[in-house]
């Protein structure tokens, strides 16, 4: 009878631990999804940006058209696909090509729409940073659960593996240009 109680208790503990690991893993997926949402929010500013800029920088038309096409391509791709990361990098490269120097265009600098866009861009960047921090916290919690005993036994049986946090050398971090650099290069 006592053995039965002990066995049942151990089972409960293992089930609870397994569930907490699953919860931690789902939190990671949730966090990764948040990053994608925030990146999309930032890139959704591009059409307005193009509309404001093209009035003042008519000779950059080709680059602006390319930017618009890349943004549409980004939206049509799957969240975790490599092509999405590639498109993201191309968007960042194109923005650099645009050589967005507000100082050279004083009329553009004073444009109220551009000022509002800058604020929205800053907000989007801060939200991307917040999503990334949430992702890192979720990954750290998950890694801790599957590395500590007895979670590591469950992880071994089920096949859970440690995940990597976002670091400065990751593609997203490297290409996440600050608004200041973008608007004052």
């Amino acid at each position: 009878m006592i053995i039965l109680i002990i066995v049942v208790a151990v089972m409960f503990v293992l089930v609870a631990l397994f569930n907490s690991i699953i919860k931690a893993k789902n939190q990671i997926d949730n966090a990764f999804g948040s990053i994608d949402v925030m990146l999309k929010k930032r890139y959704d500013l591009i059409p307005n940006l193009v509309d404001v800029v093209k009035v003042y920088m008519s000779h950059e038309k080709e680059v602006l058209d390319q930017l618009t096409k890349l943004r549409i391509a980004y939206e049509s791709q799957k969240v975790t696909s490599n092509s999405k990361v590639k498109t993201m990098n191309e968007i960042e490269n194109t923005m650099r090509k645009l050589n967005f120097s507000v100082e050279n265009y004083p009329d553009l600098k004073a444009n109220q729409n551009l000022i509002e866009l800058q604020k929205s861009w800053n907000e989007a960047e801060e939200q991307i940073a917040a999503s990334r921090r949430f992702f890192n916290t979720a990954v750290t919690e998950f890694n801790t659960k599957i590395q500590q005993f007895p979670g590591n036994i469950i992880a071994l049986v089920v096949g859970f593996q440690s995940m990597e946090v976002f670091e400065i050398n990751s593609p997203i971090e490297r290409e996440n240009k600050r608004a200041r650099d973008m608007f004052n290069s």
Partner: protein, 315 residues
Amino acid sequence: MNPELESLFTNGLTDSLNALNAARRKLISSFILNICMSVLILVLIFLFNPFLKYFSCVVFLIFSGALLSSRFRRQQKKYQLQFKNLIISPLTQLVEGDLKYQPESGIDLETFKLSKLVKGPIDKFHSEDLFTGAIGETSFQFSEIVAKEKQDSESSGNSHITAFKGLFLVANFNKTIKSKLTVFPDVFAEKWGFLGEIVSREIFPTDGMERIKLEDSSFEKCFEVFGDDQVESRYILTPSLMRRFVELRDKKQFFGASFRENQLFIVVYLTKDLFEPHVFRKTINMKEIELFLDYLIFMTKIVIDLNLNNRIYKT
């Protein structure tokens, strides 16, 4: 002593101090005189009233006690108001933010309840010493608040416990906020871990929000954060804002904050009244006045220290 404060008192407030001292002496004299008169009348009633002398003395004591107490409170209030207008009001010149002072006004109960920084239904609420100002694009106001909760008990019947006593600040926040976030001082969780968190949830109004664990270890040691959106909580509490909170915490004992509806609410827990003079002390206490100024500077500097004027985000 603060040199600006010293200069203000030496050059500008000597007459005010003299007037206040005179008013204080008059108040004490009046109080003593009234007591003496009451004692005299009591003795006369006892000696010369043959009918129900003890009953008459008791009735007179109750009546005169109530009258004297009410009169003293009125005079004391008048003296306090005089003190606030003559001493506290000029202190606002030494503080940033173009502060306006209204001694008899305060932040209303609805705004205080909106912050969700105090648990329980508030039965008695008193707010006074309202300061309003603006630094850059950030407008703010703060006042002294005492909020009490009714407590029913079999032994003492209806009594009130103090739910909050201290300073309460409201400022418009520099980011758009859709969710709710509250930051409480970490009184228990740091010492007792998981059990401490359970105690915190009982004491502080967490409102069903989840515990948000942040990556700044110094911040986590000083504060507990509860919010309903993991990402937006981190959007609000950036690494630099967390650092500023810790620096603010190093200046004063306990304070809490909440972020709701594009506003920042801050409570600074105090154990005694601020901006009030003592009636029965011989002179105006300069150390106390310096403390009042210290709190005024602390409250207005919150806007600067938390970088609320960094208006680069969409609002």
